[in-house]
């Protein structure tokens, strides 16, 4: 056949004979499989995707997405498929060479254990002897991370762990046994397993959401809410989408289509990002602002919105919204020095006798020309009479209706020139604020509306005297479009245009503007200010509480939908009811001694010049104050064993629990007992035993990793930062540094990640295709099961069974060492959603003699609690009696379950001990069923009950929302057959009836239900004394800390051609945190590593070309990795996507004498923002993962150079 005759037609006619096609079974056979099982991935990605796991020959061969989500409203795109490149790679792990198949133990520990075990018949005695031998202890600590693992047996490792638990409780106190496991929502029963063990034991859970810096502090500041966000389908309802710090296709992979699809439905999408990031690809506009300067942009946007839509012209909907749903009309005291505290109702003659009058606030009634006391404030929530906590515009004393004044502009007594801070020029400016003089019991007070204060702060010119901006082009006056240019690098025209489109879209649509935001913003030191300014742009335009509107913050899978029953199980509320829940940022900052490497925070953090206790000094001192004031938790509690303390109190003659508590308080007052935070390096203060499961505590979650290695583990580290805190801390003992605080580190894992590599014991756990569990997310409104497609492989067990085993062995050893009922003193901070949030109207420190120490009011809550360590196993396996008696609680909502509890005992599996029957939690499936059965999100009758409870509290009609689904129930098997949509419940804030997409606070707006804040409204203004001292009572802009002050580069030297760059660690494409990043799939599709991304011009100046090895370093540590050179990265910044492991192909570092280099967290060290430690006051009251300082890390700088020599 000649070449010329080879024409197309020849080939098309070439129909192949059927016989010759029998070979096609080659591929057909591969496609055959034996069964499909529904499961998902528990990995804190927020995806919560339903997957079909395909099993062939008893082996998991591949997974594909399930497509059977029930439909929402038909005008919305469907939720299918869900799942990403990472999730679909998971099956690789099951049979891979990185799978942990058996229990492992570090050889150096095992040898020493064997030595002492031979000498002691009792394992607890053997552990005690090993701990008493500093040489042996240091020997195995030094070996951490350096190999020498040995395969072990469950019997051996259970014995060691049980011995360490019992020894630690006896010798130091149970609160020296700590666990870290993040993000329960991703596999909630696996989390609950470990935390249930810890809380039955008296141990400590570490928080994660704040430590990861996933918690947006602006959310509790404004809404009294941890986080509550739109499900992704609701993006489709938005008509303008601003995306910042959130790289949707990288991190919201299964949801991203809603944004793309919204655009084809006429939505405008704007991306704010310093780099041309992946989501910018389908923006209408990419606003290429300078890294970390989003706050300046939004402050200017708000300036324009107020100037044009509130002043030049008013939009009635915007005004009405301010009056009803925000704190704008509330009266605040002002002076020339600045705006101060809210005016309290009990300062006015008319209201002086109302209950909780300090916690009720006032507005000005335009109709009567007098003050009124709105319902719905914190005082109405916590007063004895219920039913007045609502947002109706009615006076709380006489029910008279009123029209709240937003402004005194037209009827003020006088205009006061009020001082506002300008942190960019370190100066103050004075702007006129219209005020009224109001007669109070303390004499005349000058008050303004919060709205008028905001107008002044944002510089909206209403013709008042003072240093108001002349116009948009006034570059010196905060916060004009011209002013923001020097921070953002964005032309003023763009800001003005954006603001107009934003407000105009909201006006046309009734508030359908959404900000999608994420870790790219939330990890800056001043993240709360940036968030507040962006949220204000939506509050000013009435966008919060609307479908298609709101602050869609997605950083971490924080939403555990069936929160109430799960919380009871996870924190042993059913048996003990006294959990020890520690905010991890404080714990790590203190215990890993990162505080020792910095001086006063005022060295780097912008703030007012006038210094007070709450805005200056060393972060460590504010931390200490926060502990004794009851603002933040602290464990270990005291420098004495909390079990021994009860015995001492009894020896001192105390009979009742109250007397024991009083005795301990007196001891604290007399400084005979100390909070361990005051002397954190004393051996009484050390955390001793650390359980890590479902997370990578020593890598992805180890901010300041090298300090973890040094102070927790006692192994080799790469930090060179000098210790500088001495002489700069006032209330903290600075003693010689301690290395190796941890006696025992246990990691429960299915893969050998960095945490496992550095642990003493590694326990093999079932993967997400080998166990029963539940998974929920805020990205959608369904709940998913994890299922056993195949049984736990090799010797692995589910987390539920692993901790059940630990309970069993620990309980057995307790029979001899801690028998019967054991009492100890328990301490915890003042809690949000309890009456304690109205306990400290002023900051008064008992330790300074400013007030008396009163537990639960001026200091932490304290109680005597009783354990039964012998019953650990039986209690673990039973849903205990306290929930039957006391009901379940979440987010301030309560409901009773006694009838369902009894029904369960009648019809479902029970666990029986000491002659009593309890609902069984023996198996993970039992526990899943219990969570679903007792939840208001999956049991319609309980949702109805929860609404009844809300009706009582608010006096509003609420049960209509639960009436239609009262008979709905779904259990574990139902979830396995098809995803189920969660019911509308007052535990959450959205109305989703009739297929509506979940949009937060729609219930508040549509039902006049208060937010859980001081005023019950959304807060622009934050009047905690600490906020006023720090100048953050009003929204503002504070510049990022400067690298020369921040202390990451104080001793690091520019060696050879070197550049300093701002070090960014956003979430990456090829991993979810560190998971998947070590799979062959992801490593192949990336570059075989998580590279260092830098700008092409920056690289050229350092003679670096793409794929060269670079050495990246600062005082904290060092990274050696290959680089990617790209024009899409702006000059002056670099990126290592969070979070690679340091286990795969990591070279050694020439700058550190050829020790093994680290990974991204090697370069970080955590700073805590003290204003976020404030507490005991309304929404500024602690709750686990809800409130407290966050682990910021975005302001870090590094030096980079070409690697001089590649050595492994």
């Amino acid at each position: 056949m000649s070449n010329e005759k080879v024409t197309a037609a020849t080939w098309i006619q070439d129909l192949v004979e059927p016989e010759t096609r029998s070979w096609e079974e080659f591929y057909r056979n591969r496609w055959q499989y034996d069964k499909k099982v529904r499961s998902t991935h528990g990995v804190n990605c927020t995806g919560s995707c339903t997957w079909e796991i395909h099993v062939k020959d008893g082996i998991v061969t591949w997974e594909l997405q399930g497509l059977d989500y029930p439909k929402l409203d038909p005008s919305l795109p469907p939720y299918e498929p869900r799942g990403c490149q990472r999730g679909i790679s998971f099956s690789w792990y099951l049979y891979s060479p990185i799978r942990v198949k058996y229990p492992y133990i570090r050889g150096a520990l095992l040898d020493n254990w064997k030595k002492y075990r031979k000498q002691h018949a009792d394992p607890v005695d053997a552990w005690a002897a090993l701990m008493a031998d500093p040489e042996s202890r240091a020997r195995y600590q030094r070996a951490r991370g350096k190999g020498g693992f040995r395969r072990s047996t469950w019997k051996t490792v259970n014995e060691i762990m049980a011995a360490a638990n019992i020894y630690t409780a006896k010798k130091w106190g149970p609160d020296r046994v700590t666990g870290f496991s993040p993000i329960p929502a991703m596999s909630m029963l696996s989390y609950a397993a470990g935390s249930r063990f810890l809380q039955l034991f008296g141990g400590v859970n570490l928080s994660f959401y704040d430590w990861y810096c996933d918690l947006p502090p602006a959310s509790p500041e404004i809404w009294g809410e941890q986080t509550d966000v739109n499900e992704s389908a609701d993006w489709f309802n938005a008509k303008m989408l601003a995306v910042m710090g959130s790289n949707l296709n990288m991190t919201r992979t299964p949801d991203c289509h809603f944004a793309a699809e919204a655009r084809h439905n006429g939505t405008k999408m704007v991306v704010l990002a310093p780099d041309f990031n992946q989501v910018a690809k389908y923006a209408d506009e990419w606003i290429a602002l300078n890294a970390g300067q989003d706050g300046a942009f939004w402050m200017a946007v708000n300036h324009v919105i107020l100037s044009e839509f509130h002043v030049k012209r008013t939009v009635p909907m915007f005004m009405d919204y301010q009056r009803r749903f925000t704190d704008c009309p509330f009266l605040v005291e002002v002076s020339e020095d600045g705006p101060g505290r809210l005016l309290r109702a009990n300062t006015i003659e008319r209201y002086k006798n109302v209950e909780k009058g300090e916690w009720k606030f006032l507005v000005w009634d335009d109709e009567t020309g007098d003050v009124k006391m709105p319902k719905g404030t914190a005082g109405f929530r916590w007063q004895s009479e219920k039913g007045q906590w609502n947002l109706e515009c009615k006076d709380g004393l006489d029910n008279s209706e009123y029209t709240p004044a937003l402004s005194f502009l037209d009827n003020c007594s006088v205009v006061v020139q009020v001082a506002f801070d300008d942190y960019t020029r370190e100066t103050q400016y004075k702007r006129g604020v219209p005020v009224k003089r109001i007669k109070t019991l303390q004499g005349e007070k000058t008050v303004a509306t919060i709205y008028d204060v905001l107008m002044a702060q944002y510089g909206a010119n209403r013709g008042l005297d003072g240093e108001y901006p002349r116009n948009y082009d006034d570059a010196d006056a905060p916060f004009t479009p011209a002013w923001q240019e020097k921070w953002t690098g964005i032309d003023r025209k763009d800001v003005i245009k954006f603001a107009r489109e934003w407000a105009s879209t909201a006006e046309h649509t009734g508030g359908k503007c959404t900000v999608i935001i994420g870790a790219g913003i939330n990890h800056w030191y001043h993240n709360n200010l940036i968030y507040r300014s962006a949220i204000h742009s939506m509050m000013f335009c009435g966008c919060i509480g609307k479908n298609g509107g709101g602050m869609a913050h997605y950083v971490g899978q924080e939403k555990l939908a069936p929160a109430a029953p799960w919380g009871a199980i996870a924190f042993a509320q059913d048996w003990i009811g006294a959990p020890r829940l520690q905010n991890a940022p404080s714990w790590h900052y203190v215990h890993s001694d990162q505080w020792r490497y910095e001086r006063e925070f005022t060295e780097y953090a912008a703030g007012p010049k006038k210094h007070t206790d709450l805005n200056s000094g060393h972060t460590m001192d504010v931390q200490t104050k926060a502990v004794r004031m009851g603002w933040l938790p602290w464990f270990p509690q005291y420098d004495k064993n909390s079990i021994e303390l009860v015995k001492e109190a009894e020896a001192a003659g105390c009979k009742t629990d109250d007397e024991i508590v009083k005795w301990v308080v007196q001891q604290l007052k007399d400084k005979k007992i100390r909070y361990t935070v005051e002397d954190p390096d004393a051996q009484e203060a050390w955390p001793r035993v650390w359980y890590i499961w479902r997370g990578n505590a020593l890598q992805a979650s180890a901010k300041g990793q090298e300090f973890f290695f040094r102070h927790y583990l006692g192994t080799t580290d790469n930090a060179i930062a000098p210790e500088v805190a001495k002489g700069h801390v006032k209330e903290t003992v600075f003693r010689e540094a301690v290395t190796g605080k941890m006696d025992l580190v246990v990691d429960i894992n299915f893969r050998m990640d960095t945490s496992a590599l550095y642990s003493d014991i590694v326990l093999p756990t079932a993967t997400w295709y080998e166990k029963a569990d539940l998974n929920s997310t805020d990205m959608h409104s369904f709940i998913h099961p994890l299922s056993e497609a195949v049984p736990p492989c090799w010797e692995s067990k589910s987390d539920w069974d692993i901790f059940k085993g630990i309970c069993k062995h620990t309980g057995e050893m307790a029979k001899k060492h801690l028998p019967g009922e054991v009492r100890e003193i328990w301490s915890a901070p003042l809690l949000h959603d309890t009456p304690a949030e109205v306990s400290q109207p002023e900051v008064k420190d008992w330790a300074l003699g400013e007030c008396d120490p009163i537990p639960g009011k001026t200091m932490p809550n304290m109680r005597v609690i009783t354990h039964n360590f012998e019953q650990l196993y039986d209690r673990y396996c039973s849903f205990g009696p306290k929930v039957r008696a006391g009901g379940l609680h979440a987010h301030g909502v309560d409901y009773q379950i006694a009838d369902f509890y009894d029904e369960w005992i009648e019809h479902k599996p029970v666990h029986e001990f000491e002659g009593k029957k309890y609902p069984s939690l023996e198996s993970a499936v039992d526990a899943c069923e219990a969570v679903l059965y007792f939840s208001s999100e999956c049991n319609g009758e309980l949702a109805y009950r929860a609404f009844e409870d809300q009706e009582k509290k608010t006096g509003l009609v609420m049960t209509d929302l639960g009436a239609d689904s009262r008979s709905v129930r779904f259990g574990y098997k139902d979830l396995q057959s098809q995803p189920r949509r969660l019911l509308t419940s007052p535990v959450w804030s959205a109305i989703t009836n009739g297929g509506r997409a979940y949009s937060p606070f729609t219930m508040n707006v549509e039902k006049m239900l208060p937010w859980r804040t001081l005023t019950g409204r959304q807060h622009y203004y934050l009047d905690h004394e600490g906020y006023i001292d720090n100048g953050e009572q009003v929204p503002t802009y504070k510049p990022s800390p400067l690298p020369k002050n921040y202390g990451d580069l104080s001793v690091s030297k520019a060696d050879g051609k070197t550049k300093m760059l701002n070090y960014l660690t956003p979430h990456g494409k090829w991993h979810i945190h560190s998971t998947y990043g070590d799979t062959l799939r992801m490593m192949t599709l990336s570059r075989g590593c998580e590279p260092f991304w830098m700008n092409d011009h920056d690289a050229k100046e350092l003679d670096i070309i793409d794929n060269d090895f670079v050495e990246v370093h600062n005082d904290n540590g060092v990274v050696v990795v290959r680089c990617v050179v790209s024009a899409r990265i702006p000059r002056g910044v670099c990126i290592i996507y969070h979070s690679p492991e340091r286990t795969l192909g990591v070279p050694k570092s020439p700058l550190r004498g050829y020790t093994r280099a680290g990974a991204h967290n090697s370069l970080t060290r955590v700073r805590l923002k003290p204003v976020l430690m404030m507490g005991g006051y309304g929404q500024f009251t602690f709750y686990f993962n809800y409130w407290g300082p966050t682990g910021v890390n975005r302001d870090t700088h590094i030096l980079v150079r070409k690697l001089e020599k590649l050595v492994y």
Partner: protein, 498 residues
């Protein structure tokens, strides 16, 4: 009229998020074996970029596809069957390992087994081919993802040749910087060069659905298909000694399911449906000038509701249910009715049956005052102000025909304007009507485009034609017996020399 049936795919690039879930769905099922490590039947490229294998679009390097001869015939660029025997040991047009990459893994087991040492343990990369340690990994199948290494990679994209030097420079500066994703599978072409090139006749195009397959029993490892395919979508399995390629998941299609890559497309960018085409005109169309090819290809696709077409199809043995599937085909709408989708590199003349809707992109910026500015008075910017140059897209998707790109982008913009008008109301009706008219569309059509782009369910995106396997099986045996005996037999792993 010679009417034939072709399963035809459309990828909506504006929706592609570059996640590569498709690639792994495919890999897990089909190419996770020894010898297939480097095969990515489905891959996703960042454009501009050099792709996989590197610079595959550069036919001056690879000589793939067809060329026109002086006398108006078509000829394979790479080789002829006659010349193959002379190049048995050296096929000059094959990509080398450097054009692909050396597959690697890690010594994961060291993390468990390494004895105690002075420094932290690390698991070294090693070659999956030789087992040797690799200290410095130098390439991979997705090396220039997300514009990585733009000075080396993106700037060497062959499609940039049509773009003016000025714009080309700008594309790597903040004002113009842009990229998009380009997912690729086998195009199951109407004029497949791979089929034409195979000396063993191992490659064929299935009559019932047009899927191009490579017979694993007949393949004799000539590898001429690899050279001939201008998209580099056939691969040589070094373990079995056979070449393999994307099979469009025919076992799934035959059972009414979407191919795995499409099933798993979480950007919801993929559409599949049956089309009917006129095989008589293939040669004629494949001979058109470069910028005429895309429209020529559209003209090959026939209206499945036209009685003449239906009759001709039936005459050719196309099953009624298949004709019905063609009538409900989302691909037909995107390609033919709405003229939104375009073929990749039609100038390779293989007549690819995977079509792409071109991507919108952000508005251009300026740096007039030293500050970045996107500012104009428009809510949505006109297509001329998009960051991605039309000339670039034309080089990729329309044989250089910029008008077709502009047409498609303008129509998408008109759809957005109409929907904005309906859902927000801040655009005047008159403005919208003008836009619709300029974009050659109507409110009714625009609404349909919106619905299929944004709201489409799985069943609306994927119209899988019935396979009628009973008829296929009947032609080689008794179906009743097949029912009773399917699956019995012994399995033999494929080995070299099969």
């Amino acid at each position: 009229m010679d009417v034939r049936a072709q399963v035809t795919t459309v990828f909506h690039l504006d929706k592609c998020i570059g996640c590569h879930t498709c690639s792994i769905a495919c890999k897990n099922i089909w190419t996770d074996r020894e010898g297939t490590e480097y095969m990515w039947w489905n891959n996703v490229e960042t454009k501009p970029g050099t792709g996989y294998p590197t610079k595959w679009e550069d036919q001056s390097k690879y000589n793939g596809g067809w060329e026109r001869t002086k006398n108006g015939k078509l000829r394979l660029k790479s080789t002829s069957k006659k010349s193959i025997p002379f190049n048995i040991f050296h096929n000059p047009n094959l990509p080398t390992l450097d054009d692909y990459y050396e597959p690697w893994t890690y010594k994961y087991e060291d993390l468990f087994n390494a004895p105690e040492q002075s420094s932290q343990v690390t698991a070294m990369p090693k070659s999956l081919i030789t087992g040797e340690i690799i200290e410095h990994i130098k390439s991979g199948p997705n090396w220039d993802d997300d514009l990585s290494g733009s000075p080396i990679y993106a700037e060497n994209d062959p499609n940039l040749s049509a773009v003016s030097d000025d714009i080309r420079k700008q594309m790597f500066a903040v004002e113009r910087l842009a990229f998009f994703y380009f997912p690729r599978i086998c195009n199951h072409c109407l004029n497949p060069a791979c089929v034409a090139s195979c000396p063993s006749g191992a490659l064929y195009k299935r009559g019932e659905d047009g899927i191009v397959l490579l017979n694993q029993e007949r393949c004799r490892a000539w590898r001429s298909c690899i050279s001939a395919c201008p998209y580099k979508k056939t691969y040589y399995n070094w373990s079995t000694g056979k070449s393999e390629k994307c099979i469009l998941c025919f076992p799934r299609i035959e059972s009414g399911q979407a191919p795995a890559c499409m099933h798993s497309c979480v950007g919801r960018i993929r559409y599949i449906g049956m089309t009917l085409y006129d095989a008589d005109r293939i040669v004629e169309v494949a001979n058109l000038d470069d910028n005429q090819l895309a429209e020529g290809m559209r003209s090959l696709i026939l209206d499945p509701r036209d009685p003449e077409v239906i009759e001709a199809a039936q005459r050719n043995g196309v099953h009624d249910s298949v004709i019905e599937a063609a009538q409900n085909s989302p691909s037909y709408k995107f390609i033919k009715t709405w003229k939104l989708a375009l073929p990749p590199h039609p100038e390779f003349r293989t007549l690819p049956m995977l079509w792409y809707v071109p991507p919108l992109s952000p508005v251009l910026a300026s740096l007039d005052t030293g500050k970045v500015s996107n500012s104009t008075d428009e809510l949505f910017e006109s297509v001329e102000k998009f960051r991605m140059p039309i000339s670039y897209l034309a080089n990729l998707l329309s044989g250089g025909n910029e008008g077709l790109i502009r047409y498609s982008l303008k129509k998408m913009l008109a759809v957005r304007m109409l929907q904005r008008h309906k859902t927000v109301g801040d655009i005047e009706r008159g403005t919208v009507d003008k836009m619709l008219k300029e974009a050659d569309t109507t409110e009714r059509e625009a609404t349909e485009i919106y619905r299929l782009t944004s709201l489409a369910t799985f069943d609306e995106r994927f119209s899988i034609p019935p396979a009628h396997r009973e008829e296929a099986i009947e032609s080689v045996g008794v179906v009743q017996e097949h029912k009773a005996s399917a699956g019995f037999g012994f399995k033999f792993a494929p080995r070299r020399g099969l």
